[in-house]
Symmetry: C2
Subunit: 223 residues, 2 copies
DNA sequence: GTCTATAGGGGGATAGAC
DNA sequence: GTCTATCCCCCTATAGAC
């Protein structure tokens, strides 16, 4: 069961990053936890930033491939017809929740990912943008086709809100436990709850601004 | 227009914290931006942690008082009858969005707050718990009364999801702009969009797990 | 109250032996 | 590939002059 130093460093970094954040995790903490030497990080990865990037890419590349594969399967089955919004949501978020459900490592990573969406660090932003480019393009296209009545800008906001709910769902342990004792040990239940909420939000009546925008293009811009 | 050193430090810290995070912001950055001396932070606040706490409490105490006042007004008007879920949601999130809408400082602070919910740092968690205790208790009680059919655990999750959507809504500029060009300069539009989504999610049909839980208490726990 | 100067610790990175 | 030792930088906090 001896894994090589490189993998041990990645595992240790993943665990520590989710606990202490990007800046709060030091190379000394990582190498100590990985039973490796301090210099090993620079030998294997080149720098702290490059290590962090490797931690994300290791699982994120695979995750996004799964998402695309799930969408491919749906679209093949539909033979060119638009998908149901529910199918698309289940496809995207289902793959995500399933990764969290499959293993403790998956959960750790998803929590790290949830935290990191709000991390404005430039270098993180750039490689996340790279990793997500294809998935985003594919799912946006599928949603636009499935919901031709929803203005694209509205949909982008709703997808954004869905990501927020997902993020909190996964990092639930960290964020406001203030709300009350919650049982987040049952991924199937979490999946069902989240899906119900997301579909409800996605299919909600459009806010009035759209009607206004059509009828009165020169309406006052509210403060 | 000369403000005192203490206020200038708080303002500078607020701006820098949202850009660079808690660990990424140094006292040197803050005092330089505030045109104050490095030692001034320790003189006025005692430590970096105490300064951060002061940054949050300065606006959060007021914000939560507003939320409670809004709920008080609704409940007085209702004379003991349950409120509509929509009213409660609009009350809580409306106050929040309004603070973001009112000024650039409000927006900055709300983005900082959104980021911080996922910050697992112990000292942050403890003073946030303190600041939120009363609001959470009041709103939970109002929701339970308004939605007697929704199991409390389900509601706690849904409130959690709503907080996530709110958080992403406010920190929209930071998080996945990948989704596409979004216009977050119109708080009224954002309010309308978010409210529509949140109400849709809150009122969504309950997931099947509840029916199962009632009918088969000994049902297999899904992995 | 505000400054300078500095203590004292910890950070990332690297040189060079093995 | 892995280690030790070390460089050099930046951090928070404080002592003490003004």
């Amino acid at each position: 069961m001896e894994s090589d130093t490189r993998s041990r460093i990645l595992d240790a970094a993943e665990n520590l990053l989710v606990q202490h954040g990007l800046d709060g995790t030091t190379l000394r903490m990582i190498t100590a936890a990985a039973h490796a030497n301090l210099a090993a990080v620079n030998y294997h990865f080149g720098s702290k930033e490059a290590l962090i990037e490797a931690v994300f890419r290791r699982r994120l590349t695979w995750l996004n491939e799964q998402r695309i594969a799930a969408l491919d399967a749906l679209e093949t089955a539909a033979k060119g017809a638009p998908l149901k919004p529910r199918q698309i949501v289940e496809s995207y978020f289902g793959v995500t929740i399933r990764m969290a459900a499959a293993s403790a490592e998956g959960r750790t990573f998803m929590r790290l990912l949830g935290r990191t969406y709000t991390e404005p660090s430039e270098f993180v932003r750039s490689f996340l943008a790279e990793e997500y480019a294809e998935v985003i393009a594919r799912y946006k296209a599928a949603f636009f086709k499935a919901l031709p009545d929803v203005p694209q800008e509205e949909f982008i906001w709703r997808f954004h809100f869905m990501m927020g709910a997902l993020s909190y769902a996964i990092s639930g342990a960290d964020a406001l436990r203030l709300l009350g004792p919650i049982d987040d040990t049952d991924p199937e239940a979490l999946y069902a709850r989240l899906m119900s909420f997301l579909i409800g939000g996605l299919r909600a009546p459009l806010p009035e601004i759209h009607a206004q925008a059509v009828r009165k293009p020169r309406a006052k811009r509210a403060v």
